[in-house]
Symmetry: C2
Subunit: 415 residues, 2 copies
């Protein structure tokens, strides 16, 4: 149903050209996990020496693949990533663990590596056992077709309710040696009774030790994937992984062991940019989204406080429906600030839509021009700025509007 949905009106106008990352090859296949005749598995092989970092859902009820990845991560090396759509292998009990073990066994045999160097992600229906025997033969055959390009293939293979594939890339130099970062993501969409998920995988040929890679990723996620919300709901399967093949070392790039190494400064910025780019694409493809909404909070008592206030606004159904209705309803912003539970004083609040200040010092801005604001609200991208007026804490989060289409997609109206 949502697979036939038109491409989001907020989709980027062009798909970025993403180059090969030395040490990374991939192929996709039809394993028939849930439906026949549909690409539903991605096999991605990584050269020996690849390091790995990961950030996963905070859900107390994670999927079996999330538990599998968490268990392998301390080893710090990776040789393959297997992602399927159609079945999330979540809430599948002991059978779920057996399915991850069998998938890893089949992939390890196909690629000739250790099972504990295989990383897994699954997205799709929840609570249904995943029949991993379907991978037998399929992954062997897929392994014969591995290629370093085109990135659009894996980007498409991991889509579920996404209306466009999500890719981002950057090239920077480390000590004069060019390295590439390439990332793919699938968005936060749902199609009943499937539970979709945010998955993102980022690859680089830089040579970075696993602990440093983990530190880079954990920091990079703060203002990207952790600063986006579609509906406040958290999947049991959210997975973000960063793989570094180290192939650039062959061309003279240094092996970096410390995330704070000054030689990484450009790389850090580039990685942050790729993560932020993918995050914005996820927000632009939120279910039913017609507007991208950026919430900027300034003047909070701390960044943490600013984040909580921003998330309270971004998750408010009343704020999101107002944006859908192109209504600069600042009363609902006040409401959402008030319910956040963070330090705020009504009579110090200022609220702007775009650059137009609508409220100031606890009351409507006398200069507020409703016609100008209404015109602004017709834009595709809406910036809402709230100044708390108490301190120096700032933050920004991204979300989308809440439309009838969201309810239609997730309501699975059977009647």
């Amino acid at each position: 149903m949502a697979h036939d949905a038109p491409v989001s009106p907020l989709a980027p106008k062009t798909t970025p050209k993403v180059g090969a990352v030395e040490g990374v090859r991939f192929a996709t296949a039809e394993a028939g996990i849930r439906y026949k005749g549909r690409t539903d598995v991605l096999l991605l092989a990584l050269d020996e020496g690849t390091t790995v970092a990961g950030v996963f859902t905070k859900s107390k009820c994670p999927s079996a693949p999330v538990e599998w990845c968490r268990a392998n991560l301390p080893k710090g090396t990776a040789r393959a990533l297997v992602v399927n759509s159609g079945n999330a292998n979540a809430f599948t009990g002991a059978k779920g663990r057996e399915a991850t073990a069998l998938t890893a066994k089949i992939a390890a045999k196909a690629l000739g590596c250790g099972e504990d160097e295989i990383y897994l992600a699954s997205t799709g229906v929840i609570g249904e056992p995943l029949d991993a025997t379907k991978y037998e033969g399929v992954l062997d055959e897929t392994a014969t077709r591995l290629a370093p390009l085109p990135w659009i293939d894996p980007a498409r293979a991991i889509m579920t309710t996404d209306t466009f594939p999500k890719l981002a890339t950057a090239t920077v130099k480390i000590e004069g040696v060019p390295v590439t970062i390439a990332g793919i993501a699938k968005g936060a969409g749902m199609i009943a009774p499937d539970m979709a998920t945010m998955l993102s995988f980022v690859f680089t040929d830089a040579a970075i030790a696993a602990p440093a890679l983990q530190a880079l990723l954990s920091k990079g996620v703060t203002d990207s994937f952790n600063a986006v919300t579609i509906d406040g709901d958290t999947s049991t399967s959210d997975t973000l992984m960063l793989f570094a093949t180290g192939a650039a070392a062959k061309h003279g790039a240094p092996v970096i062991n410390d995330a704070k190494d000054p030689r990484l400064s450009r790389f850090r910025r580039a990685l942050t940019g790729v993560l932020a780019d993918l995050t914005e694409q996820v927000a632009r493809d939120g279910e039913g989204a017609r507007k991208l909404v950026r919430i900027h909070v300034t003047g909070a008592t701390s960044k943490k406080s600013a984040r909580r206030i921003a998330m309270s606004i971004a998750n408010s159904p009343l704020v999101k429906t107002a944006v859908a209705g192109e209504d600069a309803n600042w009363g609902r912003i006040v409401m959402a600030v008030g319910k956040a539970g963070e330090p705020a004083e009504r009579d110090r609040l200022s609220i702007s839509f775009g650059g137009i200040r609508v409220a100031h010092e606890g009351a409507r801005d006398p200069a507020y021009d409703e016609a100008e604001t209404s015109a602004y609200m017709k834009n595709d991208v809406i910036d809402i700025t709230v100044d708390i007026g108490l301190g120096r804490g700032t933050d920004r989060v991204m979300t989308c509007d809440l439309t009838k289409e969201y309810v239609a997609i997730n309501g699975d109206y059977r009647s």
Copy 2:
């Protein structure tokens, strides 16, 4: 717009007959606060000796009337309640404080009592100054028409986007003397650009000292008004007040100074019942609601933990849209349990819709009959039970489904 909405399909079939509460008289009027020709103010007079208790929004940006009530509450006595609709007097800065002071002055003059014995509540548009001079003359005239019945009048006067008036009552004996409890409420509805609010006022002729009354109300609210959510948004104006005129003392009822007094045991239960009844009516009149949803959590590590898990489920847009679609989507329940952040173990979870167990010990219940569950989901009232399997903490919260109508009501689609 929503004022023309049809009565909620979940409305009670009959309106309860509510008797007079000795010491309470009221009348309504048209003050023209926002619209002409519409009843928009309730003046309710309380006999001398009336004690008062209140519970208010936790918002950090409360309305001026909420601040006014909070300031007066320590005095513990009340002579009048003035409620208007059309303007919430919220986020109105210094002008908001002036408006509450002027309203109280006019009401005190009309009734011949102290200004600090006047309680105020406002609901309607936010951020617009409330012109309290409109009460001049109006409240004087209204005070000449005060009568102890019918309760439907105040119940209707405080409505905004409610589709039916909300009343509840109980009669119990304290030491053999009958006392009455009568309550009215308005629901959690919104109509752009108005911010509606949950207001509830409960009255009794029992003779209960203010501190004891406050203790009764604070306890009573835990499993009623604090256990209901429509969309997770919190008004700047939520107000629940309990007034005790003490008139029953003239008929021999004791004056009670301690909330734990055993002579109050029946009264406590009756008060809890009235609050729970009003709460359920609010949930049944949630904007766009087509189903009342009761979330029962058992086996949590504590009641507090059970409450957080229940609220995580009740506020999940994905759970609420699934119920709207008559889909027993237990995967989304697992998701909402997982994101609550409370102790939970996937492999101990059980989930039931009605009496039908759909998931057990971390996987789909093998005996689960989809046809039977689908038939159950067609009901108006849906009970979802989640057993966490870890402890003895239980809780129950109420909500409603999330429909396209909710988005339509709050989206104010201008295009």
